[in-house]
């Protein structure tokens, strides 16, 4: 396997923080939400950032790779065109479904972890890979509901997808923590059962515990428990990159920089152990 590109510490590029991102120290890459960036009309601030050498990774949130409906060719083409526009080393999506029976959830929902769902997701991933010019990485989602028919653990399901399709992983450590709070799944045990050499990069984000459930809000600071999962991941593999996701309630630039520095410190400290 070819070596994965070294990305460093990154942040989710959003129009609301487009002037902040270039000022943050030590940013190695950014991610853009594919649905929000038109490859034919890239916002000027993003185009300038990219022209200055910043790697830009498209991140899709609505392909519904775990769904039973045919992949939307427009959504797939958008990912491919963004990867070409930015010369991205990889693109990412989720192990999730977003729509069914003509209804749009507007969100990433967990697939039942059954053999049937595994076959469906495998076929969709292969169809996506055939249209994409660069490798695809898949992210574990944060869920509030789980299915009684689950036959596989999340680690088993992701591992099967990797083995069947060669897909990379975008490991969201906050979502592993969410699985711990919401379903009692030990994040470190999950890490120990995943093919970590396939991790393209990691996501980190803040959330909030409400009525005993973890909500992956991206609007709260990253809590120590989530940094602990990041440390456990970085101890186990040479992590090519780690990216902070922030949405809506953007903190002051200094606060954002401090949060990124904390993430960098955890990833670096763990890596040299």
């Amino acid at each position: 396997m070819t070596a994965l590109p070294a990305l460093g510490v990154g942040i989710g590029w959003r129009p609301e923080i487009d002037l902040t991102v270039p000022r943050l120290p030590g940013i190695g890459f950014v991610e853009v939400i594919a649905e929000n960036v038109d490859p034919a009309a890239v916002p000027g601030s993003l185009a300038a950032l990219h022209a200055d050498g910043m790697p830009v990774l498209p991140h899709g949130v609505s392909l519904s790779l775990g769904g039973t409906e045919r992949l939307d060719p427009r959504r797939l083409r958008r990912l491919a065109e963004l990867a070409e526009r930015f010369g991205s080393p990889l693109v990412s999506e989720h192990v999730a479904f977003c729509r069914a029976g003509g209804l749009e959830a507007g969100h990433l929902l967990p697939v039942p972890r059954t053999r049937e769902a595994l076959a469906t997701a495998t076929a969709n991933i292969r169809a996506a890979q055939a249209e994409l010019p660069v490798p695809l990485a898949l992210e574990n989602i944060a869920a509030l509901v789980s299915w009684p028919e689950d036959e596989l653990t999340e680690a088993q399901f992701l591992t099967e997808l990797v083995e069947r399709t060669g897909v990379l992983l975008l490991l969201d450590v906050a979502n592993l923590y969410a699985a711990q709070v919401n379903f009692g799944t030990d994040p470190v045990a999950t890490l120990d059962r995943l093919p970590l050499s396939q991790v393209g990069y990691a996501h980190v984000a803040g959330g909030v515990r409400r009525d005993g459930l973890w909500h992956d809000t991206h609007t709260h600071p990253v809590s120590p428990e989530i940094l602990d999962v990041l440390a456990a991941l970085a101890e186990r593999t040479a992590l090519p990159g780690v990216l902070l996701e922030r949405d809506d309630d953007y903190p002051a630039d200094a606060e954002l920089a401090a949060e990124l520095a904390a993430i960098r410190a955890v990833a670096d400290r763990a890596a040299v152990r």
Binding site: L103, G106, L109, E116, V145
Partner: protein
């Protein structure tokens, strides 16, 4: 309401449809899926829609103030998110806010 399908016999497409229907139309939770979790997920979805619409319609959100969230919850209870995109959701909520009792509230301010 009776369970919509048996998990063992219902196919993947049906199960996924049942969950989305429960989340966006208020149908019963899919068989075997805890209803309290479905409610929590549905509320989180409406919150996400509301934040997106508020971002697209900052003037309307500001005029409604504290009424925005309850008004959006009432709107979302009758109207699933339009399949097109969040801009369509924002337009539909604007129409709802104009048409309903909210109009009086706006006039009164």
């Amino acid at each position: 309401m009776p369970p919509s399908a048996e998990p063992a016999s219902a196919g993947l497409a049906e199960r996924q449809r049942d969950l989305v229907a429960a989340l966006v139309t208020g149908a019963a939770a899919p068989a075997g899926v805890p209803p309290d979790r479905v409610r929590a997920q549905a509320l989180a979805l409406v919150g996400k829609r509301a934040r997106t619409v508020a971002r697209r319609e900052p003037g309307l959100a500001a005029r409604l103030g504290e009424e925005f969230w309850p008004a959006f919850q009432r709107y979302a209870a009758t109207q699933p998110r339009p399949p097109e995109n969040s801009a369509a959701d924002a337009r539909a909520f604007r129409r709802y806010a104009r048409a309903g009792r909210i109009r009086k509230l706006l006039r009164g301010r």
